[in-house]
């Protein structure tokens, strides 16, 4: 049976980096700052049909999400990276889901750390 994917799999992250809350806090700060920049860039890339920039941006934020073990977010970006750029409706739906997930993580981050 496939394991249920988590908003934040802290256990998996700790297994890699050891227990260091300050380090996790630093990672989260970097993530939140870069996330909003990446999303703005990606939206513009999609509007301008700039496939290359969009692909690069998604790839980058997907990597960051994966490294921190934001698993649901990583899956959403994975799906977004596989959608054709002209399938605007699906892209919009996914971006809405990504933003919801982002606000969920931000809102609940005090529980995580």
């Amino acid at each position: 049976m496939q394991k249920q994917r988590k908003h934040f799999n802290k256990k998996a992250l700790l297994k890699n980096i050891g227990k260091d809350d300050n380090f996790i806090k630093m990672l989260l700060e970097i993530y939140f700052v870069s996330f909003e920049t990446f999303m703005d860039t990606n939206k513009k890339a999609i509007e301008n049909d700039d496939k290359e920039l969009s692909k690069r941006t998604i790839h980058s934020i997907k990597g960051s999400s994966g490294t921190i073990y934001f698993e649901i977010m990583t899956d959403l970006f994975e799906e977004l990276s596989n959608v054709e750029i002209n399938n605007k409706n699906r892209i919009i739906d996914l971006i809405i889901d990504i933003e919801k997930e982002y606000y969920y993580i931000r809102k609940n981050i005090y529980i995580f750390v």
């Binding site: 297994k15 890699n16 980096i17 380090f23 990672l27 997907k62 921190i68």
Partner: protein, 250 residues
């Protein structure tokens, strides 16, 4: 210490990798990090690392734009990537190992151990060389025994019998005066060091020649050496002066 660099444009990924390396490998020394092609090339030139962790995509290009500036085997490469399909073939061909993001501690330990095993195997090669090294002189020429390791056999060959070596990615072809060819599962770089005192010079990224077997140097249609066995070996622009110095005093 294993002199290590991290080439990664994602700050989160590089921070986590650095922490994992420092937490788990006391023999790894992280000399620096870079995020783009230009800085990475400079950093590698300055620090001369043993091992480099590369993200495939960097901010202004890709890892191959960096790697192509250096001779194969000068440092070992471990790729760290989110790619899971197409790029893997290219990655497998050019790296010691690759890690899929998110990197787990288990995978990282395996990759670093693979590096250690490779280095131990190189050291074994040098020690084998010492064992068989008779340092004899043959017809006035300095000679040594060289152990050539293929996937199935070990050959002991006189350096005087080697006409030339040609690099083939992480392997090396040895062409002997008898006409035999031995395909060795080591990089040419490793043999270049061993043979440097025995009349061998690197004339091209992929070619090492025994100067005793050079018949002529031709400049028709590019720079080439014609070897006594009739083969034609290209001389790179960078190495041409070395050849001219050796044979013609500049």
């Amino acid at each position: 210490m294993i002199r290590t660099l991290i080439i990664e444009d994602d700050l989160i990924a590089s921070s986590v990798l650095k922490k994992m390396l420092l937490n788990n490998f006391p023999d790894i020394e992280i000399l620096g990090e870079a995020t783009n092609v230009k800085d990475s090339i400079l950093l590698i030139e300055q620090k001369k690392p043993d091992l480099v962790f590369f993200d495939i995509e960097v901010s202004d290009g890709n890892a191959f734009n960096i790697i192509d500036n250096f001779e194969k085997g000068v440092f070992k490469i471990i790729f760290v990537t989110s790619h899971t399909s197409g790029a893997l073939k290219a990655i497998k061909l050019s790296a010691l190992d690759y890690l899929i993001k998110p990197v787990t501690k288990k995978d990282l330990v395996e990759a670093v151990n693979k590096y250690r095993n490779t280095i131990q195997s190189s050291e074994k090669l040098i020690s084998q060389h010492k064992v068989f090294n008779e340092n004899s002189y043959n017809e006035g020429r300095k000679n040594t025994k060289v152990v050539l390791t293929t996937t199935q056999e070990y050959f002991i060959v006189d350096s005087n019998d080697i006409v030339r070596c040609q690099s083939d990615s992480y392997y090396t072809n040895f062409f002997l005066s008898s006409g035999d060819k031995i395909f060795v599962s080591k990089t040419m770089k490793e043999y270049e060091t061993l043979l440097a005192d025995y009349g061998f010079i690197r004339v091209h990224n992929s070619h090492l020649v025994n100067i005793n077997y050079i018949k002529s140097f031709t400049r028709k249609e590019g720079d080439y050496l014609i070897m006594k066995d009739g083969t034609k070996v290209p001389v790179s622009r960078r190495r041409k002066n070395v050849i001219l110095n050796v044979f013609f005093g500049g």
